[in-house]
Amino acid sequence: MGLKEIELPVLPTTVIGSYPRPKWLREIIKGYRRGRIKKEYLEEAFNDAVVVVVRDQEEAGIDIPSDGEQRRDEMVEYFAERIGGFKFYGPVRVWGNNYFRKPAVVSRISYRGPIVLNEYLFLRKVSKAKVVKVTITGPYTMADWSFNEYYKSKEELASELAKIVNMEIKKLEEVGALYVQVDEPALTTHPDEMDWAVDIINKAVKGVNIKVGLHVCYSDYRVLKPYFDELKVSQLALEFANRGFRDLEILKGLNKELGFGVIDVHNLRIETPDEVAKAIEKVMNYVRPECLYINPDCGLKLLPRSIAKEKLRVMVEGVKIVRKKLINKGIETIPLRTSTTCP
């Protein structure tokens, strides 16, 4: 099926990317790190875990699943391990007792070959969904969340990383991927860098002809708003549940699709379908339903798996409430858009 013919149900449901690893996978990873498990068994376990988490998402009713980033410990770490020029000193806390291994750039950045291509190919093979999502950490966030010991400026480092991200997305396009999401949670953290940061993101997606979403979370969206038009992506996936659906007014004038975050991924309380439906109805005051995707705020990996699945199920139930009303109005499907605007 070509990109242009793909229709999705109105308010397509998707995930942002990560999903909790099954307990047995965590044990196998631990065993591998202690030298008790062979690499080939670990690989097999990763594949099995993807099958399981795709199944979880599909059972919950998600239209566009991801592979739950089962092979990735962390979003920057995973890429830094596979790109030349990085070094790891140790873990750094992100909040509470959550850590990531923040990499340091100690020499020239180099592309050592495909990074997430096999992830996509395996996901495509095991998912029944028409469209699946592949996530890639964006060049700005990779630069911002690394210690720069080598390049003269963060901009120079990010620019080199943009070339690598661009190569990777093009490789995904070549093998048939339809939807890539570039994750840039750091994007708005330095407002004075926004001008060049947006150029860097556009460089990373230059010449790409498939759907590209941009995920930005836990951020000051007032900083992002002036750049809505300039960003050469077809969708912005933003977090709103965590902030109690405040700040929706920043969406006034949004000229592209919105991936609307309706599930708080840092809270064990499971939302109700009514809460989800109300939030969607609220956002429809700012964004037309034809331009809306529905997703959790961010990756689900920090939740217990049962809660993550239930949250997705509830999200889909909430969507169904609104969908029913939209279908009554004759809005049933939307196309899979690649354009950078949503008319």
């Binding site: 992100v94 007792n97 923040k102 210690f147 010991e149 953290t189 902030r243």
Partner: protein, 336 residues
């Protein structure tokens, strides 16, 4: 008489071993007694690092704190703990205080923790040390609160100071506190009207007076952006030891600034808590020497910001270097 000392400010990276103590406590696998013993052991290990590095002016590393606000805000009536918010421009997040009622501090374990830390420090250092307690300042607390109760920011800043911080400082004094380290990054962060900022500075200067009255020395640490942005307002704050982040991009003419405002006591943030690159001894020496030329007579050299943002192995290396460089500098000056 010129004073030059190395100091460690704010948090030291919480190791995964400490994080494991928390997770084992919350899952019931560890008793509270064993947890406390674990925290004491890690605090002792941290103090030994400081002692071996020649740093005798320090905090307890804030091993029990998730960030500069938590757990303090959990012991404040009128506050609910809200979602995660980014800590300024870092990939570091905190649970924000949602203010839903009149602020008022409740019973809290912070003085007890301070007491525990001071007794560990005595065992490690003898009497030759100063332990600082870290608290967030009233302005930073207010600017990072989600305010759903107070009709204006002035009242919010005021009540953080009067109803929360001052009673807390008083209770800390009763267990032996002599130096308080107040973190006020919001004072220099910008994105605030000059009227609110002026009021914020006034409230902080009231806090300084309060501490002075109690006989407590107050350090006022600003970071991520430069204290030089405060210009005229800084004269209200000079009774505190002022912390200046020498790695903030907007730092302008710091030496002229110190001269202009007659600043006599500063904490120079010359150890970068946000990068793994090691600082050059020559840079530290140059800055200290220029600061002395600018008329400052009490110079503390330390990390520019909390150390949560770098791996523990790097933080330890930086602390060792800090002690080495400052002590060498001191002996070369004494030798002159």
């Amino acid at each position: 008489m010129v004073v030059i000392k190395a100091c460690m400010n704010g948090s030291y990276p919480r190791s995964k071993a400490v994080a494991r103590l928390y997770s084992r406590l919350s899952s019931g696998k560890l008793s509270i007694e064993d947890f406390e013993e674990g925290i004491r052991n890690h605090t002792k290990k941290f103090f030994e690092l400081l002692k071996n590095s020649g740093v005798r002016l320090f905090t307890d590393g804030m091993l029990r704190w998730d960030d500069i606000f938590n757990p303090l805000i959990r012991y404040v009536n009128g506050v609910k703990i809200n979602g995660l918010v980014r800590f300024f421009d870092n990939n570091f997040f905190f649970r924000a205080p949602k203010v839903v009622g009149k602020l008022d501090i409740s019973d809290n374990p912070i003085p007890k923790w301070f007491n525990v830390s001071i007794s560990i420090a005595k065992r490690v250092f003898g009497d030759d040390f100063i332990l600082k307690q870290v608290i967030p300042g009233p302005f930073t607390l207010a600017m990072n609160s989600i305010n759903q109760y107070y009709s204006n920011l002035h009242e919010l800043i005021h009540d953080w100071r009067v109803n929360v911080l001052e009673p807390l400082i008083k209770s800390l004094v009763s267990v032996g506190l002599s130096v308080i380290e107040v973190h006020e990054p919001s004072l220099v962060w910008g994105n605030v009207s000059s009227e609110v900022l002026r009021y914020g500075v006034k409230e902080v200067s009231e806090l300084i007076k309060f501490c002075k009255h109690l006989g407590v020395d107050i350090w006022l640490l600003t970071y991520f952006r430069s204290l030089t942005n405060l210009n005229g307002l800084v004269s209200d704050l000079v009774d505190a030891i002022l912390g200046i982040d020498f790695f903030s991009k907007d730092l302008k003419r710091p030496y002229v600034f110190m001269e202009e405002y007659g600043i006599k006591r500063v904490m120079l943030g010359l150890i970068d808590s946000r990068n793994t690159l090691m600082e050059k001894a020559s840079m530290i020496r140059r800055v200290v020497s220029r600061v002395l030329d600018a008329g400052v007579n009490e110079v503390y050299v330390g990390n520019n910001a909390p150390m949560d943002f770098i791996p523990e192995v790097i933080a330890a290396k930086k602390i060792r270097k800090l002690g080495r460089v400052v002590n060498k500098l001191l002996s070369s000056l004494l030798g002159d």
